[in-house]
Amino acid sequence: MNEQDKWANLQDVWGASRPASAVPDVGLMIARARRERRLTVLVLVGEWVMMIVAAVLVAERWQRVATNGYETLWLGFQTLLMGVIIVVYTWTRLAALHEPAGTSLRDWLALRRRRARLGLRLARFTRWTTVALLPAPVIVLVMARSTQAGITGLVTTTLVLGAGWWWAQRKRAHMNAEIAEVDALALEWLDEPPGPSGQTSRA
């Protein structure tokens, strides 16, 4: 028996085999996936509506806001940040709803790496803007029209900044783990050593 015959024999043996695990019923999983997809789309629509409402409110009160330099800066920053986050995350979540079509393993790994780097950049941006905004709670307290408004503003701003910092730390750890996994996959499955571009970020 030559090599070709041996290989054909192996293919016959392989093709005739059926593992003990039967093909599972995935109806429930599909129903759940459909529900999750609907929920994601609803959340995205809600976020965009909120974003548009916020933009309209800012535009309506622009005369009053524009007279206060700090408030203008603060609102401009918030709108910009919301815009960036919503646009980036709309795209990421919509992309996650679909299996990437027709991509090779190499392209798929590159896609995962790009997404992880994007997440890492966003985490870094959030962290540094949080540092830059550390005086915000004090400024809010000082500029408040009443004590109650000042305390409410102080607590709210502190919570927002704290949540942003916490989210950025978690995101950074998650994205670093993702990049490390992609590098390990490329090495193991494609014999592709991680180059300088594939290094785990220490941001």
């Binding site: 392989w14 093709g15 593992p19 393993l105 499955w189």
Partner: protein, 167 residues
């Protein structure tokens, strides 16, 4: 794709390619329960990917691409977080004839065991080739050149031969 049409297409795909996916999964996961979970995950991936199928490659290659990516993620997760391994190499064959069946099952078990002992980079190539994919299809799936597939597959086949001879 409409919901009903998508479900009907998916049911046909499962009927036609389900055994292939089960074989593919078995070469990457020994534990029966984990294998079933992985197979479910792959089928969900296939369901999600079907609407984007444009016929650039054969449906079989397209589905194997999804399975391949899901298996890669699964294997890496298992490497990162190994769990208690409960080996389960049961195989059932649907072909008739108990004597032929016994012989075939033995060969299958030997082949599967030899495959599982191959390094992952070689195993994926051998399994794709055993499923009847051409060099250019494997090259498209992995994102490497056809020449590279030839070289790597030759090495992988030699390694498989060695593994089979040891058994």
């Amino acid at each position: 794709m409409l919901r009903g049409a998508q479900d009907a297409t998916f049911a046909c795909v499962v009927a036609e390619h389900g055994p292939m996916l089960a074989r593919f999964t078995a070469s990457f996961e020994r534990n029966r329960h984990a294998r079933e979970d992985l197979l479910q995950d792959i089928l969900l991936g296939v369901w999600q990917a079907l609407p984007a199928f444009r016929g650039d490659a054969s449906l079989k290659t397209y589905i194997l691409g999804v399975a391949h990516r899901r298996c890669a993620s699964h294997v890496m997760r298992e490497v990162a977080q190994p769990r208690h391994e409960e080996l389960d190499d049961e195989w059932v064959d649907g072909q008739p004839g108990p004597e032929a069946l016994a012989g075939l099952n033995q060969q299958q078990a030997r082949l599967l065991s030899a495959l599982r002992d191959l390094p992952i980079g070689q195993r994926q190539l051998v399994v794709l080739a055993l499923e009847g994919l051409r060099y250019d299809e494997i090259a498209d799936l992995l994102g490497i050149t056809v020449g590279n597939v030839g070289v790597r597959l030759n090495r992988a086949r030699a390694a498989l031969r060695e593994q089979l001879e040891e058994r």
